[in-house]
């Protein structure tokens, strides 16, 4: 059994994900509202109310409470001297290894919600793939970005 990567993402990340879930549920709520209005206005069958309601309810439960928790607990990363390892997933656990020599550039991005919580995403690009570590504390993300780019500078083989 390989050991899990050691670092977890910030606890605030969980809050942000829950917030995303709330937003998603609100959007669904609006859609469900429109559909219900349509059902009322055009006299579509009544079961549509129940379906719309059930979808909103499920979304609220899953995307606000259950999924963020599982994802947060599963999310792990580790930046070692020669490689970066990340682990994530909801139902399926994915573990990715990216060697330092393959890293081409590192980005940090921050949207309005992440900014409010002082968090940032960090994206690691190779010649063919992009890997994102979400919701890191901004200072930590900056340090990590600097560290990865330092370590990656010792590249030798070309693509």
């Amino acid at each position: 059994m390989r050991a899990q990567p050691i670092h977890q993402i910030s606890r605030k990340g969980l809050t942000v994900w829950r917030l995303y879930g709330v937003i998603q549920t609100l959007v669904l709520l609006v859609v469900a509202g429109l559909v219900s209005y349509g059902t009322y206005y055009f006299e579509w069958p009544t079961f549509i109310y129940f379906i719309a309601g059930a979808i909103v309810f499920l979304s609220a439960i899953l995307s606000v409470f259950i999924f963020p928790k599982i994802r947060w607990e599963r999310w792990r990363y580790e930046v070692r001297e020669h490689e970066i390892e990340v682990q994530h997933g909801l139902f399926v656990v994915k573990r990715t290894l990216i060697p330092m020599v393959r890293v081409q550039h590192v980005d940090t991005t921050q949207g309005p919600i992440l900014k409010k919580y002082d968090l940032g995403n960090i994206s690691i690009s190779t010649a063919a793939t992009v890997h994102t570590i979400p919701a890191l504390v901004m200072d930590e993300a900056d340090v990590l970005r600097a560290r990865i780019s330092d370590l990656a500078r010792v590249a030798e083989d070309d693509v």
Binding site: R2, V92, K94, L97, I98, R102, A127, A128
Partner: protein, 488 residues
Amino acid sequence: MSKEINRLHPVSAIITSVKALKSMILPIVIIIISNGFNFSLNFRSEHFFETILLFGVWGVASLLALVGGIIKWRTFVYWFEDGELRVTYGLFVKKKRYIPFERIQSLNYNEGVFHRIFGLVKVQVETAGSKGGKPEVELTAIRKAAADVIELEMRHAKNEAVQQQVQAQVEEEAVATPMIYHMSMRDLLVLATTSGGIGVVLSGLAAVASQFSDIIPYETVFHELADFVKIGAFLVALTVMVVLIVAWIVSVVITLINYYDYTVRIEEEKLIITKGLLEKKRITLPLNRIQAIRIVENPLRQLTGFATVVVESAGGNGENGNDKKITLFPLIKKLDCMQTLEQLFPDMNWHPTLIRSPKRARPFFYRIDFFWLVPIIGASCYFFYPYGLLSLLLIPLTILLGIWQHKTAGYQIDGKQLAMQYRVFSRITLIMEKKRIQSIESTQSYFQKRKNVMSVKATVMSGATGTTGSVSSLEQKDAEKILTWYEH
């Protein structure tokens, strides 16, 4: 270094405009057909205005295309200076592009029908940065001698050729370089027969037929068809045969046009592929740009012992422009294939002994399919009652396919190389060097975890998105072995 300024051949003006016109033909045809051929030059007719508008727009567009072609030809200049290929073009906006010769990955030659009449060639200059499928520089049409000059200048700059030899080399080149692979007529026929081409042609025919549904009186045809069926199954079988044969012939012709005289040579660590009947193509591929090699055997070919070899290349574009997967051997006997590849890449192991997926992992290859299978079967049984039951046959088929996939899934680690074998329908063997792999990912679902199996994916660079090979449900410790191997 000559500072002589070179121009394109005048024919390039025609070629450029014809190319622009060609892209306009389809919309025009669609408009004409959708209009139902209601055209009239009689100005009293209600269609007069439409006709004038259509032909007017078309006329103006073709005029523009022609002028554009001439402008491009008049303004396009290239020359060699300071070890660079320098190109400028453009009328209002002047564009200049300087490419150092060392940066040039390959020169690809392309001879269309027009080119061949005048003894010209289209040259595409490619560098590692030619992303999105566009070559850095495209010389639409120059004389073959001029193309040779470019190649000479390039070698000159790269110090790969001694000066005196240069002259002799040009003449000898075609003879001197060892040929690695050549497709015989028989190979072409087999390729045409076993490729999916026939299916494509058939569906193409169907698409054309459905497009003309307004014109062809299907109902009458159906009535006649009903009579026809009464005449006997024999005739029906005959018709089917004829359709199949026609499809086969079309497929052979297409294959012939594309792959005629398909030859692979090796020269100075570069693979040179030439092919084509009407349009001759020459693709150059530096060996050190090759990221991985994929051996594809579709079921029909696997049965007959043939395979297709595709190389994943980081730079240079393939035959279809934006895709960087270049077919190296369109069709080759599996045994010869391994020998030839061994000759090309002696450092790699071409006879991998694969470690297979464990037996307890077998259900994972078909179980997931029932998620979509069950609703489909349920629906079709319900809605198309008697015949819908036939969809139940999908269950054993899916399971068989799953078992087949399970049998194919395997990997091998040998020193610096990773080989993966898997199939959807065609068996794919992907062989790559460790230093070419961009990232490796393992995935494990809850159910896989319970059975202690794990899937592995490896991505190499190829084009913009890369190519991913994936083997499902290996023994967990095997999967972890791949990860650990990749780490160190």
